[in-house]
Symmetry: C2
Subunit: 272 residues, 2 copies
Amino acid sequence: MSDAAAQHPFDAAIALEHVGPDLMRGATTPDYANMIGPFGGVTAAVFLRAVERHPDRIGSPLSLTVNYAAPVAEGEFDISVRAVRTNRSSQHWLLELGQGGVVAATATAVFGNRRDTWTDTEIMPPSAPPADVVERSQAMDFLAWTRNYDMRFVEGGIPTETDGEQPESTTTLWVGDHPARPLDFPSLAALCDVFYPRVFKRRGQAMPAGTVTLTVYFHADPEHLERQAEEPVLATAGARQYSRNYFDQTAEIWGRDGNLLAIGHQLVYFKG
Amino acid sequence: MSDAAAQHPFDAAIALEHVGPDLMRGATTPDYANMIGPFGGVTAAVFLRAVERHPDRIGSPLSLTVNYAAPVAEGEFDISVRAVRTNRSSQHWLLELGQGGVVAATATAVFGNRRDTWTDTEIMPPSAPPADVVERSQAMDFLAWTRNYDMRFVEGGIPTETDGEQPESTTTLWVGDHPARPLDFPSLAALCDVFYPRVFKRRGQAMPAGTVTLTVYFHADPEHLERQAEEPVLATAGARQYSRNYFDQTAEIWGRDGNLLAIGHQLVYFKG
């Protein structure tokens, strides 16, 4: 098997080459295409990877915010990556993804070194049968990126014509990269965005919708990821309010032993 | 009464003058001083005000993310304000707050025009007696900014020595500017940050802690704010997980008639 054949599609999608001191170049791949432009999760992942690959980077990610300004067009893109401030234990980054001189997305990230402290989790993971007894959901042909995830819905699967309106928006699923791939920070960031829009469940139908801004808080550190390895995560999401074209979403990504690996918040545009 | 005397301390704290096409200048005020540097909420507010005052701005705020890179020093600061992308109904902004050429904070914001859509709120406001029957909390002498808020704790007041450790982190309070001031987007952003660090309640004691990044999703539009006027809001916040120096916080800001005006998420550093 050649190296190219051995590369996971996710790694190909977030691959970057250095083209300047604070500038990296990547390209969209058909594997992670969404309706228009790439899956938002892979854009978040490539921003995070850009910081990870920067020679000045310290520590691991604490937070990432991505603003989706316009669909990323098929083809190459440049990411400018700037460390605006480096402190003793944390580092602040500003990033822009451009194509032909036009900004398609921006991001800010905070990285840092962590130390042991008092630890506690106030909430419980959702209850779910083990992943291997839940049926794998079929990928959606018109959303290429879904072919690269193993999704097993426990609650709130993709609405069908017979579902009708629902009184609340929770979706819970087992999910992992397909084929399986050791969890890293870029894939964890992408997992925060795997949920179909909450308004689809509430209204029982699809409608125009798209993430405007995504924020991920990383509770996991590198040791947590190593322990998680290629196991699927238990992901759950819901919304609080829908009002005049926008709703919020909060997602929790749970790992082995009821460990909360990340929280993802987003504001989503909808029309309907 | 002169104009200066008539100006609310909050308006003085977020006042900006244009010093270049994409550059504004403000200054910290003693009224909103925190332990070190200004109250984080007022920094969020001044970023939002900078976009509001930019001649190219369209619509009202949808989201704001502020990364606190270092304490803002007492005195003047410059805010660079750049519209990185303007679409038909939304606009993406990138901002940096600098002092002497060094970045102290960054922000991204999304503004836009909203239209009527299907509307729903999935969650309920916390139960609370009316604001006027709840006792006003005393301002803390060592935190000047608290003098400029009327805070009435319904649950989870500031821990005293006798409180000890608590099993969960919820704080709910009636809160408004003091003296009363009509609610606007900058003050709404600041209100998302009025909570003392959740870890203080859990551990029953104060310890070094500070917000690293704050994201606000604005569900309110200008009509909601007009209806709210000078009435206090019902604000509630809690945390999900504390792990290796960082915990998350989610706040809900509820207005008249059980209207969810904003959601604030933050990641907070702590040591202890």
